[in-house]
Symmetry: C2
């Protein structure tokens, strides 16, 4: 049985924008595994319901293969590492994985909220019409304001964001990838955040002359420019 | 020849507060190496001059042993790892080191500036009188205001700081140390920042019920409570 990933999609089913799903896309390419993706939308909760305890069935990626089902991008990475030990390693050992966890949380706690404040309205506008009411309602509740208000001053958000990415920028001045000389899972985690923005928004979150942008270009070029072949806004 | 470290000291020569030197203290203990420290003060530039190109002689730690001299805390860690391969590893291999670099830059670019804004006046007050004019002049130039003005609203700085440490807090909910099941160099880098504050200031930068505080206590307890035996404010 082929490896399958349920992957969040926009109105255009080729538009794939979930930062968590992008981690898994890149992890599967890194491990040189064949896979197919299944376009999934926020309101397709019944599709994922069998894989989740009640109520939580709105989370992708979900990965299925002939051995079973794995949910959660980090657990999927750990699973791939274990299930396919002969393929290139995502963490290069336990110490790499333990350290990568910090980068994962930095991405989720710092990068994602900042990027979200720049692109959340663009995400909404890319969605399948059936997803829009759910998305607007849940995100406006989270932010405590309308999506239009959230992004109204995104130039200011960007200025703060560009300060926030300073540890990433400093690392990339010393080594070509977050994980070292070559890309590994920590890169895919951070790249997921940038790919999220690229998919849905024309708002440039990083200036062209930033070392972070050079790294993003390197990431887009990996695996025969795999990520670059997906639709961008 | 014994390993020696030039270590920044306060008016009380036993008071050791440099976050960079604390990395090296802990790294030397981790590697189970005997060493002695030499109390050094900001104005002792002539002492370090032989080890530096002109003008840069105000940076510690500097480590000397029978093989030579190493400056810069990261370079010292790499040196110890290479020169004493039979001792416990600081990075547990190249992937661990490459990932730890991100944590180093996060500490330097995010934690240090925030902590500095809470304790810079306390640092000043701990210094040997001969160091105070240099310290006040250089730091007030950096901040563009008096030391008193910098720390005037440190409760607000702390509230921001406690948000900023969120990736660290998240990691420590999943594993007992930044580096995983046991402490390694990434822990010492982050711990250096906290030990800096502990040495000079009674202002509690982290509340007692924060998982970050539990980790700091674990760090203070390592190597027969080595770090805890040093003077605290």
């Amino acid at each position: 049985m082929t490896i399958c990933m349920y992957d969040l999609a926009g109105a255009d089913p080729a538009l794939r924008f979930s930062p968590y799903c992008w981690r898994t896309h890149m992890a599967l390419k890194h491990k040189q595994l064949d896979f197919q993706t299944i376009a999934w939308r926020f309101t397709d909760t019944e599709v994922l319901a069998p894989y989740y305890a009640e109520g939580a069935s709105r989370l992708v990626p979900v990965l299925t293969d002939d051995k079973g089902v794995v949910t959660d991008s980090w657990a999927i990475a750990e699973y791939l590492e274990e299930a396919y030990p002969g393929q290139p390693s995502l963490f290069e050992g336990e110490p790499g994985k333990r350290h990568a966890r910090f980068i994962k949380f930095w991405t989720e706690n710092v990068l994602h909220p900042a990027i979200s404040r720049m692109i959340v309205l663009d995400i909404h506008d890319c969605l399948d019409p059936k997803d829009r009411a759910y998305f607007r309602g849940s995100r406006e509740k989270r932010f405590g304001k309308t999506l239009e208000e959230v992004v109204a001053d995104r130039e200011t958000t960007r200025a703060e964001f560009l300060k926030t990415v300073s540890p990433l920028r400093s690392v990339l001045k010393e080594q070509p990838f977050v994980s070292g000389e070559g890309p590994a899972y920590a890169d895919y985690v951070v790249f997921g955040a940038f790919q999220w923005a690229r998919a849905v928004s024309r708002f440039e979150i990083v200036p062209a002359d930033d070392p972070v942008n050079d790294w993003r270009d390197r990431m887009l070029g990996l695996f025969d420019a795999y990520a670059a072949t997906f639709p961008a806004a």
